[in-house]
């Protein structure tokens, strides 16, 4: 068996990995790259099993599709054979995903330097304890005050204090254990800014009121005539994660009001 590692440029060229969520939400991972086994034949019919270590932990329960194709071959004769079959996705000794393929070369000589692969892994288990989505706002309200991924919003479970006694604070109090800040650069598309958020580690069967908040000074705006603090729609989202729905997606719109005409 020949082991190749995706984090070694001499063994796997152009490795690429995408992760996103579909349906439930279920985690979908796509892998591609060019494995470089450098396998050759000196006339014999030479077979080898190649195992590509993708370097990502396998989900708990998963299915896959995988294809491999010849990427780089050479020979110096007109009698040659290159073949690849039995393409399997499995896990290695530490639980990371691997792609295994049988390759065969025959020639005098013949070389199979590399093959390309494309692997799709779908987790059958829904993502647990996560609430994620986007916060969006019109570019008319202004853009990020700082470039890059400077935090713009904090968002998390909060409780509303209508009255907290004499001198008490009226308003939202966020749970610091689960409250997160956005850390990705907002994207402006079609006149609308969008930034993602991701709250993780939430327990099931607990009702959370998810509330976003604009971090002071993070917005370069709003321009006149918009005024005051922003509002969000919805103001809050009441979400209870359960075994049947262990994660949720929730988007928010940020808005500013104008003075009455």
């Amino acid at each position: 068996m020949k082991d190749l590692y995706a984090d070694n440029a001499n063994e796997v060229a152009s490795p690429k990995h995408l992760t996103f969520f579909v349906g439930g939400p279920l985690e979908m991972q796509i892998f591609s790259g060019i494995a470089i086994p450098n396998w050759d034949s000196q006339l014999d019919f030479d077979s080898e099993q190649v195992r590509v270590h993708l370097g990502v932990p396998a989900p708990e329960d998963w299915d896959y599709t995988a294809t491999i194709s010849l990427s780089s071959i050479s020979s110096s004769n007109n009698g040659f054979t290159f073949s690849m079959d039995n393409c399997i996705v499995d896990t290695d000794e530490i639980g990371n995903l691997t792609l295994s393929a049988n390759i065969t070369v025959q020639g005098e000589p013949a070389y199979l330097q590399s093959f390309s692969y494309h692997v799709e892994v779908l987790s059958n288990k829904k993502v647990h304890g996560s609430i994620f989505g986007t916060i969006r706002w019109s570019e008319a309200f202004g853009g990020p005050a700082a470039p890059g991924g400077a935090p713009m919003f904090s968002i998390g479970p909060a409780t509303f204090n209508p009255v907290s006694g004499l001198g008490g604070i009226v308003g939202w109090t966020w749970d610091p254990k689960f409250t997160v800040s956005t850390s990705t650069a907002p994207l402006n598309a079609n006149g609308e800014w969008t930034v993602p958020y991701n709250i993780i580690g939430l327990p099931l069967d607990v009702a959370f009121t998810i509330v976003p908040q604009l971090i002071a000074g993070a917005l370069d705006g709003p321009p006149f005539p918009y005024r005051g603090s922003p509002g969000f729609f919805p103001v809050s989202a009441l979400i209870t994660l359960t075994e049947a729905t262990p994660s949720a997606i929730q988007d928010f719109d940020m808005i500013f009001t104008m003075p009455p005409a």
Binding site: L18, T19, F20, P25, L70, S75, A189, T194, T240
Partner: protein, 184 residues
């Protein structure tokens, strides 16, 4: 490093058998909300020049896909796997080489261009190249406006009961009468 352009515009050069899927997805690390999956075969029908004194000739294949994106789409991330689908080999007796290497994806408004580095030696040529493309895209059209959610039914009932209790005198449950009552 300068590359030869392998993208000849011969009549036979074309992309065939393409199939595309657009899937609504979400990401917890980006605003991407659409996964575009494409497969097909690119034909490069014209044999490039060669002679036995040449070393490996490196170049780039340019695969153009017009209208792969919608007008407001933004390509967030992507990958492509290319494979040697059909080789052309006429002159035996020399050490020939065919190779495909790094891939680059470019978006120009609604068009997608895939640039594939590759090379050949002697009279060998990649006549057909199979491809599988995966694009993670932000598609504003897929956005839905957040909606105010309805209260869970049990919480709604509780609020109704609290309002009821606050507005009226306690009621007395009469034994023997079925139905829901509110205990004072």
């Amino acid at each position: 490093m300068s590359y030869n352009d392998f993208s000849y515009t011969a009549a036979g050069d074309q992309i065939i058998g393409t199939h595309w899927l657009d899937v609504y997805v979400r990401s917890n690390s980006s605003v991407a909300n659409c996964y575009v999956s494409g497969t097909g075969v690119a034909q490069f029908s014209v044999d490039p020049p060669w002679n036995s004194d040449m070393d490996v000739q490196q170049g780039q294949f340019h695969l153009q896909f017009q209208g792969a994106f919608e007008p407001d789409d933004l390509l967030m991330d992507g990958l492509a796997s290319m494979g040697i689908d059909r080789m052309d080999f006429d002159e035996p007796g020399f050490t020939w080489v065919l190779g495909l290497d790094a891939v680059e994806l470019k978006q120009t408004t609604t068009d997608l261009e895939i640039v594939v580095n590759g090379g050949y030696r002697e009279d060998a040529w990649i006549e057909q190249m199979s491809f599988k493309i995966g694009l993670l895209v932000y598609r504003p059209r897929f956005n839905t406006r957040p909606t105010a959610q309805r209260l869970p039914i049990d919480l709604h009932d509780l609020l109704q009961k609290n309002r009821y209790l606050a507005l009226r005198e306690p009621v007395k449950i009469t034994p023997g009468i079925s139905g829901r009552g509110i205990r004072p």
